[in-house]
């Protein structure tokens, strides 16, 4: 098979993994080395596809042959998709050739499971080892690991990689039993826990002055949204656990989208992409805005409002807490005002020491007035009257309010 055909098949097979981050690696560059590569900056998106996703890494499957039968996956064993396999050398050469032309930040390598987890893991590691040891490649490497692989192999992968990940795919074992019968949430959690310990140890070593030994600095995971009946509350509860107990750098939410070779177990209709977006917003609120899962969703409403962003939806449910005074409110309180992002809250805290903040000042900060006005008291404006007529408040923000500036441009980096 021609290399170009393999590349087409194995890039196509890899595109359902949303992660493309190339940030947060140990700092390093090629000065004084033999090869190319640098890491440690903010991460760079070298291109964007018309699906809006950033192209930062060369994202490939080593092979799309697979003995597992995950029904949401085009590469499952029961699919008739065309199969291909790279040799390690082919992936190494493509990575270096693309990297030297500044097309990519590095390699994201995953693989279908061939024979067994350890065998597959060793094949994946061989690529990373050759890049690092033979070619002194100092760019970014993200390796997908397999929970069933031996802990020693996963740690070897972590020593060659900047980030490693295991995809959880679905938030409960019940869902996995139906759609991914080979997968076990318990085994995945055990593996993630071991990875966390190793990442912590490596972090301690670096803090102790050991800057030489490269080691992954974080792990991430992905869940598929809308392939089964799991609610947003199921996803967020799982994310809470993953961030808290396993120190995930990121949980990626990937809205299930139609695939060729669809399984009869899949829903006919793909979920709206906005559901994925709302989950990211809720995830952001939990990580950077001090929200608890229980504030975003309740047992009575286990799914996010698709029409309103979750912060606005929360504020409307809790309108008795508003308006807050922009001059005196705490940072934590300001972060909860719809329309104020982390950076603008920081700016407000700085300027209010020297000035009485008026609406015109907020305009200068590029805050959306229609959004914040109902919730924020300024030196020249008190929105109390707006809030009295509370029934119309939600209507003010429908059907599609301006999006919160929860995402900075470097969101996928």
């Amino acid at each position: 098979m021609e290399l170009d055909t393999k590349l087409a098949i194995l890039a196509d097979a890899a595109k359902y993994d949303a992660s493309c981050a190339s940030s947060g690696a140990m700092r390093g560059n090629s000065l004084g080395g033999k090869g190319v590569g640098s890491t440690g900056g903010a991460g760079i998106c070298h291109s964007y596809a018309p699906d809006g996703r950033c192209i930062s890494l060369l994202k490939l499957l080593l092979t799309n042959l697979c003995i597992y039968d995950c029904h949401y996956c085009i590469n499952r064993r029961s699919s008739n998709v065309r199969r291909a396999a790279f040799t390690a050398e082919e992936v190494v050469k493509l990575t270096l050739d693309f990297y030297k032309r500044n097309y990519i930040e590095g390699l994201f390598l995953s693989s279908g499971i061939i024979r067994n987890a350890d065998y597959t893991m060793e094949m994946v590691i061989a690529v990373a080892r050759t890049l690092r040891e033979t070619h002194d490649f100092r760019g970014y490497i993200h390796l997908k690991t397999i929970p069933e692989a031996s802990p020693e192999l996963i740690e070897t992968a972590a020593r060659y990689a900047d980030r490693i990940s295991i995809n959880l795919e679905l938030p409960t074992q019940k869902s996995l039993d139906v759609l991914a019968p080979e997968k076990s949430i318990v085994r995945t959690q055990h593996a993630m826990g071991r990875i966390r310990n190793k990442l912590d140890e490596a972090h301690e070593r670096r803090k102790g002055g050991d800057k030489k030994n490269r080691h992954a600095t974080g792990q991430s995971t992905q869940v598929i949204v809308g392939a089964d009946a799991s609610t947003d509350a199921d996803f967020l509860a799982r994310s809470d656990d993953l961030y808290g107990n396993y120190k995930m750098r990121r949980v990626y939410y990937s809205a299930f989208s139609p695939i060729p070779e669809p399984s009869s177990l899949l829903p006919l209709k793909a979920p709206p992409l906005v559901r994925e977006h709302r989950l990211y917003q809720a995830d952001w609120l939990m990580r950077f805005y001090g929200f608890k899962t229980s504030e975003i969703l309740s047992p009575e409403t286990p799914n996010l409002d698709l029409e309103l962003d979750p912060k606005l939806a929360w504020a409307l449910r809790n309108r008795h807490d508003f308006p807050v005074d922009v001059q005196t409110a705490t940072r934590e309180t300001l972060l909860r005002v719809p329309g104020l992002g982390v950076r603008n809250v920081q700016r407000i805290l700085q300027i209010r020491r020297f000035t009485r903040i008026r609406l015109a000042d907020l305009v200068k900060l590029r805050v959306s007035l229609p959004k914040v006005q109902a919730f924020l008291k300024t030196a020249d404006f008190n929105p109390a009257s707006l809030l009295l007529d509370s029934d119309s408040l939600r209507a003010r923000f429908l059907p599609k309010p301006q999006q919160l500036e929860l995402f900075s441009a470097d969101e996928m980096r």
Binding site: A8, G32, A49, D69, S79, R101, S184, K364, L365
Partner: protein, 281 residues
């Protein structure tokens, strides 16, 4: 009114601004104008001897970036901020994001930082030749930045590609690395490396296949990769075609008959996993 030549970059403007400040010339009396420009016939006074003037490091950092912007009014804006900091004692000015001058300066700074970032992202090297003896490769790229960012953007490439020779040509300055020395030269008007690189075909194959037609988000793509960059990106002329055929591809997928679940094959490893799972629940 006096006419002052800001020169071409931060350090030439800084020297001029330092002299003006020392001579106590307020911003509204200064016209920043390149020598030989429209107003150069006006009397340009001899600068007085310089004094040491202390400014916050944060201002130097801001001014350095703003100076790279192509906006002609940047010099006057920077001098106004400098004047207010030093002569009017507005010590907190730099954190006043609501101040009109500061908001304008921060905006220019943001444009410049973004353009540096986009240079790091969108420069596309082409292999020019390989030294037969040493095997060392020589690459070159053509990039068209909106702002004067080559000097600030180039060190990144030195660190990343220390072991290959490269040149980045742009109309606003060029950068060259030979393994030991990073050199900056004047800009050139035309792309000197028009022939495609041999790897561009593979890169286009990758681009075509990493795209998921079921998630079309053209606006999101264009926000991050504005059209003005497209002409120098070997993958960009695929965009229209990929968008155009996406609807049909999705419909074809949706029309496929669902594949029935097949029985589990005999496989010792899968049996082992199954046993493990049974033990866990």
């Amino acid at each position: 009114m006096r006419c002052v030549d800001p020169g071409t970059d931060f350090s030439s403007w800084r020297d001029a601004a330092r002299d003006l400040l020392a001579a106590n010339i307020p911003p509204h009396e200064v016209m920043w104008e390149k020598a030989g420009g429209l107003f150069s016939s006006m009397v340009c006074e001899e600068p007085p001897p310089s004094l040491r003037i202390k400014v916050p490091a944060a201002f130097v950092e801001l001014a350095h970036s703003v100076a790279c912007h192509r906006e002609p009014a940047r010099w006057a804006l920077l001098y106004r901020i400098l004047w207010r900091l030093v002569r009017e004692g507005e010590r907190h000015l730099l954190v006043m994001a609501n101040d009109a001058d500061m908001a304008a300066a921060r905006n220019l700074e943001k444009n410049v930082h973004r353009e540096i970032h986009k240079m790091h992202a969108f420069v596309r090297f082409k292999l020019i030749d390989t030294d037969a003896e040493t095997g060392r490769e020589r690459y070159a790229a053509w990039f068209e930045p909106d702002h004067y960012i080559v000097a600030d953007g180039a060190p990144f490439f030195k660190k990343r590609f220390a072991n290959m020779d490269w040149s980045i040509f742009t109309p606003k300055g060029c950068a060259h690395w030979n393994g030991t020395l990073l050199t900056l030269t004047a800009g050139i008007p035309h792309n000197p490396v028009e022939n495609p690189d041999a790897l561009e075909a593979a890169w286009r194959t990758y681009y075509r296949n990493i795209f998921n037609p079921a998630r079309l988000k053209v606006k999101a793509m264009q926000t991050e990769m504005p059209k003005r960059y497209w002409k120098n990106l070997p993958e960009a002329d695929l965009i229209e075609e990929l968008i155009g055929e996406s609807g049909q591809r999705v419909n074809a997928m949706l029309a496929e008959a669902p594949r029935p679940v097949k029985p589990r094959p005999k496989n010792a490893y899968l049996d082992k996993l199954r046993e493990q799972s049974a033990g866990e629940s």
